[in-house]
Amino acid sequence: MDTLLEQIELGTLWQFPGGIHPPQQKTLSNDKPIARLALPSKLVLPLKQHIGANGQLIVNKGQHVLKGQALTQPSGNWSLPIHAPTSGEITDIAPMPSAHPSALPELSIILTPDGKDTWTELTPVTSIEQLSHQALIDLIHNAGIAGMGGAGFPTYIKADSQRPVEFLIVNGVECEPYITADDMLMREHAEQIVQGIEIMQHLLTPTITLIGIEDNKPEAVDALQNASKHNPNIIVRAIPTIYPSGGEKQLIKVLTSQEVPSGGIPADIGVLVQNVGTLFAVSEAVFKGKPLIERVVTVTGSTITDARNVWALIGTEIKHLLDSQGFEPVEAQRVVMGGPMMGFTLPTVRIPVVKTTNCILAPDNSELAHAGEEKACIRCSACADVCPQTLLPQQLQWFAKGKEYDKLESYNLFDCIECGACSYVCPSEIPLVQYYRVAKAEIREQKIEQINAERAKVRFEARKARLEQEQEERKNRHSRTSSRPAKPAAEKAKVADALSRVTQKQGEKSAVQAAIERAKAKKMADGSVQPDNSEMMQEREKRKEQARQYKAQKQHDDTPNDSKSAVAAAIARAKAKKAAKLSDDQAIADLDTTKPCASETPSPDETKADPRKAAVAAAIARAKAKKAAKPSDGNVPEEVSETAKTHSDTDPRKAAVAAAIERAKAKKAAKLAQEQGSDEAPHVNNPESGSKPELDTADPVNTEADADPRKAAVAAAIARAKAKKAAKLAQEQGSDEAPIANNAESGSKPELDTADSVNTEADADPRKAAVAAAIARAKAKKAAKLAQEQGSDEAPIANNAESGSKPELDTADPVTTEADADPRKAAVAAAIARAKAKKAAKLAQEQGHDEAPLANNAESGSKPELDTGDPVSTEADVDPRKAAVAAAIARAKAKKAAKLAQEQGSDEAPLANNAESVSKPELDTGDPVSTEANVDPRKAAVAAAIARAKAKKKRKEQEGNDPS
C-alpha cells in the first residue's frame, strides 16, 4: 500500500458519492477572449463584499479619488478594505441594494468616474524573498483580496494559516454549467496564476500543490501545465467532469481522498484550497501592486447576444454588463448572479458586481425552464443518490416541512452544501434546497434566541438578586435600630416617656401612618414582588395593534409614506437608533476585548456637528458609563479619560466625554461603596443623578446647536407628558372624574398632534403658539385636579407635589432650548411662582405631624447655596436661560426634599440613598479638572461642586454618627 502522498503523485483520483451531469453550456462563452468593458457611468461599491466585518470609511462624500486608492481601511476582525476601481468623485455614501439573494440595502460608496482612469501610486514588489512573512500577508490584506470562488473568505487569513499545510489545492474546477470565467482566466493568465501559487507556497510551504481542473477544459489544463513546468511541486490534475466537484469538500475528496470533518475547515486536515481567480489577484497585488478592483465575469445565457467573459470593475452595475453584451429580455426574465445550480436571482439589475461575482446568467425560459409545481415526494431517493455529502434529502425535506429542527440537525442538515443536485433530479420538482435554507436560517435564529434567552435570564436573576439584597439591607438597618442594646435606666425612662408621648399622639398619628403606608406601598411597587399588569395589558393590546398595522403596512406598501412628518420622524428615529446600536456594539466590544483601546472610540473624521453625531457621542458615553459599572474593570475610567484626551478637537464632544467620565466614576464609587459593606446598596440611577447636570448642559449644546424641529419635539413631549399624567391621576381618583379627565385629554391630544406635525416644518410661529396653548391647557387641568385631590386625602399630595414640580422642570428644558421665545418665558415664570407656593403649602402640612420635615428643611435649607454653583456650570452667556435653569434646579431640589421627608417618616433607608447621592459629586468633580482646565465657567462650576460635595459629606458623617 502506497502512502497517500505516493498515491497522489502517481495520479490517483478518488470519487465522491453522488453528483450529477447537468448540461454544460460552456461553449456559449468560452470561445472568445476576455473583453474589456467601457467605463460605466457610475460604480456602486458596497463596504462589505466578503465574510467578516466591513472596513472603516476613510473617504468623504464629494472627495476625488484615484484608481486603486483605498476607500476603507480594515479594522478589527476579518475586515478587508475596498478600493476605487477608477478615478472619480464620490457622489454619495448611502445604503444600496446588495449583491445578496435578499438584496437588502447595504452601505455603499457611489463613485462617479471622471473618465481619466488615473492610477494612484503603486508599489509593486519585484521579489517576494525581500519581504517578511507579515509584510506579505499585510500586502494581501491591504489589497482587499477575498476568495473569488464564491464565499468571499478573506484570503489573508487563509494565507496566514497557523496550522501546517500539507496540500495546497488550487481550485480551477469550475463545475457549474455556463460559467467560464476561471477557464478563460487560466487560458489567458496561467503565468500570473502560477506566480500566485508560488506566493502561497512561499507563505504556507505545503508539501505539494495540486491544481484541480475538470477535464472539459483541456486548454486550461495545458496552459497551466506549461506555466508550471519549472516547479515540480505543482501538479495539474484533470478530474472527471461531474457536478459539484468544484465544491471545496468534494475537490479535497477527489484529489486527496480526505474528508473535511463536519463543522471543520480544510486546515483541520492540513489542506488549504484557493481559487485560481484569487491567486491571480494575489499575484497582481504583489507583483504589480494593484489592489483587487476588477475581476473576470462571465456574461452568458440565451438572451445575451454576445455572451463572453469580460473584465468588470468591482462596483459595475449588472445593467451595464448586460447592456454592453446585448441583452434582449424575454417574458418573466430571470437574471442570475452565479451559475444555474447555486446562483441567486436578482430582483433588480441595479446591483453591483462584487468580489465574489463570477457569472451573470440571463437565460431564456426554454434553456432553463421555470420550476414546475411542487408535487408530493414519492421517496424515490434520487436525491439521496446524487447527494455529494451522502445526506438523505428526502428525509430532510420531510422534517423541514414539519419544522422538526432537532431531527434535521440529527440528520446533519448543516452538512448540506446547498449544491442543488437534489433539487435538480427530484422528479416531484420539490425545491429541496430552498427548504433547507429556510430551515437552516430558522435553526440559526432559534439558537441565537436561545442564547439571548439565557442571557436575559442571567440578567434578570442578577437584577432580582440585587433588588433583594437592597431590600434585605434596608430591613437589616431597620432591625438594627430597633434591637439596640439595653440602655441605662435613665435612658429607659426617657424611652418610656417618649412612648407615652407617642401614645398620646396616637390620635394625630393617622397622617403619619398614612405616610408610612404610602411609603410601604410604594416600596412594594418598586420591589416588584408582584406586578400589577392590568393596565399594562391594555396598553400592550394597543401596541400590538400598532405593531400589526406596521407589519401589514410593511408588507404591502412599496410607495413612500404619505405624510412628510412621519418620514422625518422616522428618519430621526432611525438615526437615533443607529446611534444607540453603535454604542451597544462599542460597549460589547469593549467588554469582550481584554484591553479596549482608544482606537475603538468613534473616529474623529466626522467634523460636522450634526445632531446625529452628538447622539452617537452621548450614546457612547452612556455605554461607557455602563461598562464602568461592571465589576471587573477598575481601570476603565482611566481608559475613558484617555479617550477624552484623544478626542480633544471638537468642543461639544469634549463636554460629552467629560460628562461620561464623571458618570463612570460615579458608578465606580457606587460600586465601591457597595463592596465596602456599608449599607447603601445603591440604585443604579441614584449615583448617576449626581453627575448629570454637566452632561445635561453638554447635551443640549451638542444636539441643539441648530435644530429647530428638535425644540418643538421637546415641547411636544412635555405637553404629552402632562396629558398622560393628568389622565392617570383621573383614573386613580376613581369613578366620576375620570371621564372628564379623559375628555380633557382627548381634547388636548389633537393639538399635541398638531404640535408634533408642526415640528417638522421649519417656521416656528404657529408651532410656538400651539405649544404654548398645550402648556396652558395642561396647567389648567392640573389645577383642577389639585383642587379635587386636596378635598379627599393626603395621599395624592405626594403626587401633587411631584406633578407640581414636574411641569416646571419640563418647562425649564424648553427654555434652555429656546432662549428667544417671549411668551414662553412668561409661562415659566408663572410656573415657578406656582411651584413655590405649592411647596410652601406642603411643607406646612407636613410640619404639623412630625419632625421629619425638619430634616428636610435642613436639607432644603442647605441646598440653595449649593444651587448657585450649578447655574454657573452651565453656559454663562445666555441670560434668560440661566435664570430658567436655576429655577428648574431649585425646584428639583425641593422635590427631592419633599420625597425625603416622606420616606423618613417610615424608615431610614432613604437616608442611605440620599447620603449616597450626595457622596457622588465630589468624585465627579475630580476629573473634569484634570481633563479640561481651560474653560472658565467650567472651573467655577467644578469649584462649586467640590464645595457642595464636601458640605454634604460632612453632613453625612454627622448623620452616620448620630444614631450610634
Binding site: 474528508e259 430571470r334 421555470h370 415526494c377 439521496a384 451522502t390 438523505l392 442543488g420 422528479p427
Partner: protein, 352 residues
C-alpha cells in the same frame, strides 16, 4: 424591468414522476404479453377494468379531498397500481374482484393515508392480500396454461366468465378449469405444496403435467419476462439494483440450503425463482419507492428480508405464494430499517 425571482437551482433534469411511472408500466409490457400468451386474454380484460376503475376512484377521491384532479391523475401512480393489481389476480376472476381490489388499493391503502407518497403499504399488494383473504376461492382459481386446456377459451367466453361467471355454454369457471381430465389444475406452487403435505416428494410432484424443466410451464417464462422488464428498469435508473438483487439472492440461497438439507420436501432455487410472482415482486412490487426503504443499506436489508419471508411463507406457511405478505410485512419495518441505516454523511467519522 420586472425580474422574476426563483430559488436555486434554476435547472432541472427532465425526469418527472409521470415519466417514472410510465417507464415502470412499459417495463411491465413483456410480462403482460407473456401472461396473455400463456393464460389467455383475460389478463388484458382485467387490466382494462382495473385502469378504468382506478381512474374513476382516484378522481372521485381527489374531488372529495379538494385536490387538483387532472394534475394528480397525470402522475400515473394510480394507473401503475391498477396494472400491478390486474396482473396479480387470476385472469378469469370475476370483474368485481378487480373492482373491489382497486377501490381498496386506491381509496384505502393510498388515499386514506394521504395520497401518493404518504402510504406506508404498497397499494396493489394491500388490495391483493385483502382479496386473497376475503375471496380465497376466486383468488386462487388460476386457469392452467392454454396448452393444457383441451381447447383455448374463446375471447367471448373469457368476457362472459369475467362478467357473468359463466361462459356461453353455461359453465362456471370451476367447470372450465376441471373440464380437462377431470382434475383441477393448480398452480405449480400450489401443486408442490399440496403434494408435500400429502407426503409426496417434490420431484414426484414436479412430474405433474403443469411442470416443465425448472418450474411451471408458462410461469417460468412469465417470470423471465418480468426479469427482463426489471433489468430495463435498472438500466434506465428508475429503480436501484439493491432490492431486487438482495431479494433474489436471499431467496435463492435459502431455497438452495433447504434443497440441500431436505431435497425431498423442498424445491430448488430455480423453482422458487421462476415460480409465482417472484420476479414481479422483486422488480416491480418491492421496489415501489413510496413504501420501500430509501437508504441503500436499508434497501439491501429490506430486499433480503422479503426474500427470506417469501421462502419461509412458501415453505412453512398456509399460502402457496408469499410475495404480497412478505412485502407488506416489510413495509411496516421500513421506518425502523431506515432509522438504523442512515448513511455516513461526508465528514462524519471519516475513515482514513
Amino acid at each position: 424591468m420586472k425580474l422574476t425571482m426563483a430559488s436555486s437551482p434554476h435547472n432541472h433534469s427532465q425526469k418527472s414522476v409521470s415519466t417514472l411511472m410510465i417507464t415502470v408500466m412499459c417495463a411491465c409490457i413483456p410480462g403482460i404479453l407473456t401472461q396473455a400468451y400463456f393464460f389467455g386474454f383475460g389478463v388484458l380484460i382485467q387490466l382494462i377494468i382495473a385502469l378504468v376503475t382506478a381512474t374513476l376512484v382516484e378522481a372521485v377521491i381527489l374531488k372529495l379531498r379538494n385536490k387538483p384532479i387532472l394534475s394528480t391523475l397525470n402522475d400515473g401512480s394510480a394507473w401503475l397500481t391498477a396494472v400491478l393489481l390486474a396482473i396479480s389476480i387470476p385472469p378469469l376472476a370475476p370483474w368485481w374482484i378487480t373492482v373491489i381490489g382497486i377501490v381498496f388499493a386506491i381509496g384505502m391503502v393510498k388515499q386514506l393515508y394521504g395520497g401518493l407518497g404518504f402510504n406506508i403499504f404498497n397499494p396493489a399488494m394491500g388490495a391483493y392480500v385483502l382479496l386473497l383473504i376475503s375471496f380465497p376461492v376466486q383468488m386462487t382459481s388460476w386457469i392452467p396454461v392454454e396448452q393444457l386446456l383441451g381447447a383455448p377459451i374463446a375471447l367471448t367466453d373469457q368476457f362472459s366468465l369475467i362478467f357473468t361467471h359463466t361462459n356461453s355454454a353455461g359453465l362456471t369457471l370451476d367447470n372450465v378449469r376441471t373440464s380437462i381430465d377431470g382434475t383441477t389444475m393448480a398452480t405449480p406452487l400450489d401443486a408442490v405444496k399440496t403434494a408435500v403435505s400429502q407426503s409426496f416428494t417434490v420431484s414426484e410432484a414436479m412430474k405433474g403435467a403443469q411442470f416443465s424443466d425448472y418450474a411451471g410451464i408458462g410461469w417460468q417464462w412469465v417470470n423471465v419476462a418480468y426479469l427482463l422488464g426489471g433489468i430495463y428498469l435498472i438500466k434506465t435508473k428508475v429503480i436501484n439494483w439493491h432490492i431486487p438483487v438482495s431479494l433474489i439472492a436471499t431467496l435463492a440461497i435459502c431455497s438452495a440450503i433447504g434443497y440441500i438439507v431436505s431435497p425431498g420436501t423442498q424445491a430448488g432455487s430455480m423453482f422458487h425463482l421462476f415460480s409465482g410472482a417472484t420476479m414481479l415482486g422483486a422488480f416491480f412490487i418491492a421496489t415501489d419507492p413510496v413504501s420501500a426503504c430509501t437508504t441503500n443499506k436499508g434497501r439491501l436489508i429490506f430486499g433480503a428480508a422479503i426474500g427470506l419471508l417469501i421462502y419461509l411463507i412458501r415453505h412453512f406457511g398456509g399460502y402457496p405464494d408469499a410475495v404480497a405478505f412478505a412485502v407488506l410485512l416489510m413495509n411496516m419495518a421500513v421506518p425502523l430499517i431506515e432509522h438504523y441505516t442512515q448513511p455516513r454523511t461526508y465528514g462524519h467519522g471519516a475513515k482514513k
